[in-house]
């Protein structure tokens, strides 16, 4: 079915983000010591590297739930002013250029039509 069906419900990253997100100390460690944190939560090397490289495509290929991917990026770049110009969204534009181009063309079309 859809993209959400690709998630691996047993992937350690999915457990880690649930814990990190609501804990200020873990949020700080996510930025300062991601590798150590990943080791503690049992992430594979590939999971850690996809997070480190801020790559949404690789994260989802490994089974990170799609809800958690923008949250991971907001942990790196900050949560406020999360418009389409936010650094977290720039990672999506890099990872999914075709899908992004289609959406931006749609927006242009919609705005031109008014």
């Amino acid at each position: 079915m859809g993209n959400v069906e690709r998630c691996d419900k047993t992937l350690p990253t999915n457990e880690m983000i649930f814990r990190v997100r609501g804990d200020a100390a873990l949020r700080a460690r996510f930025v300062s010591d991601l590798e150590g944190l990943a080791r503690e939560f049992g992430l594979s090397r590939a999971e850690y590297e996809a997070l480190r490289d801020k790559d949404p495509r690789r994260m989802m290929d490994l089974g990170v739930h799609q809800y958690y991917v923008p949250q991971i990026l907001r942990l790196f770049f900050g949560a406020s002013h999360n418009s389409n110009a936010h650094a977290a969204l720039e990672c999506y534009k890099r990872a999914f250029p075709e899908e992004t181009a289609q959406a931006m063309a749609l927006q242009e079309r919609l705005e031109r039509g008014r």
């Binding site: 079915m1 859809g2 993209n3 959400v4 069906e5 998630c7 419900k9 047993t10 999915n14 457990e15 649930f18 997100r21 609501g22 200020a24 949020r27 949404p56 495509r57 989802m60 739930h65 799609q66 809800y67 958690y68 991917v69 923008p70 949250q71 907001r74 900050g78 949560a79 406020s80 002013h81 999360n82 418009s83 389409n84 110009a85 969204l89 999506y92 990872a95 999914f96 899908e99 992004t100 289609q102 959406a103 931006m104 749609l106 927006q107 919609l110 705005e111 008014r114």
Partner: protein, 280 residues
Amino acid sequence: MAQIVAAMAMTHSPGLTGWFTRASQEYQQLALQATAEMRRRLEAARPDVLVMFSNDHLLNWPINNTPEYTVGIADEHVGPAEWFDEWLAMEKYRVAGHSALARWIVNDGARRGLALAYLRQMQYDDGISVPTHYLNPDAQFRLIPVTMNCTVPPIPTPERAYRVGTLMREILRAHPGNERIAVIATGGLSHEPGGPRYFWVDEEFDRWFLDLLKRGDHEALLRECTLERMEAAGSGGTAELLAWVLVLAFTQGPADVLAYMPAVAWRSGTGMVVWNEMAK
């Protein structure tokens, strides 16, 4: 007995508070007018309590244990959750709960074969916070939040949501009190939060879905609007419309569509709907 006095639905996209001004002036105006009209109609219906059906974005429950539905039974609800307040650009709010009715929902659900999880302390992200900001800004109405899973497989079907809505209607109306209850669905329309099509909005699907609501033919909607069709219009997000399908079961006849905006800037098809007639 308690009675249902209003039924409504609206998008809960975080952009509606977090980066509202990044959409066009036209969309901002439409959203403000439509939510003001919803608030006006809500006040006219004089509810004592709002039962809000939203989804848990993996906030309250970890991915290894995602109940189908969860009821917030607290005396008071406080949101947004830590870290999400900054994202939503919202100050903390406090809304009185209705613990007696919420606990009734859980226990009467069990008597009717409907398994409902509950939380004494629930956390809130956009799902409850954005509609609260627009519809209950002064916290004049008490709140019972009910969250569902529509994003961790297996995702329930629209038929199941409608069935749960029918049971919820019976549960609420059987409550031995005299509460006036408004039911509000939050979520949708088309979007794919965090997926490859994160920026995409499926205007064609959204207008088709809203037309089905305007027709008020529940059987046709359940026949045509399958989970597969929702997923095709934006995976992991469009199925938030299951909350709308649940609330549909409280209603009869056509819905008024107050506004629709294919808002790429808010990363969601954005709409506001009010039903005029409650199911007998």
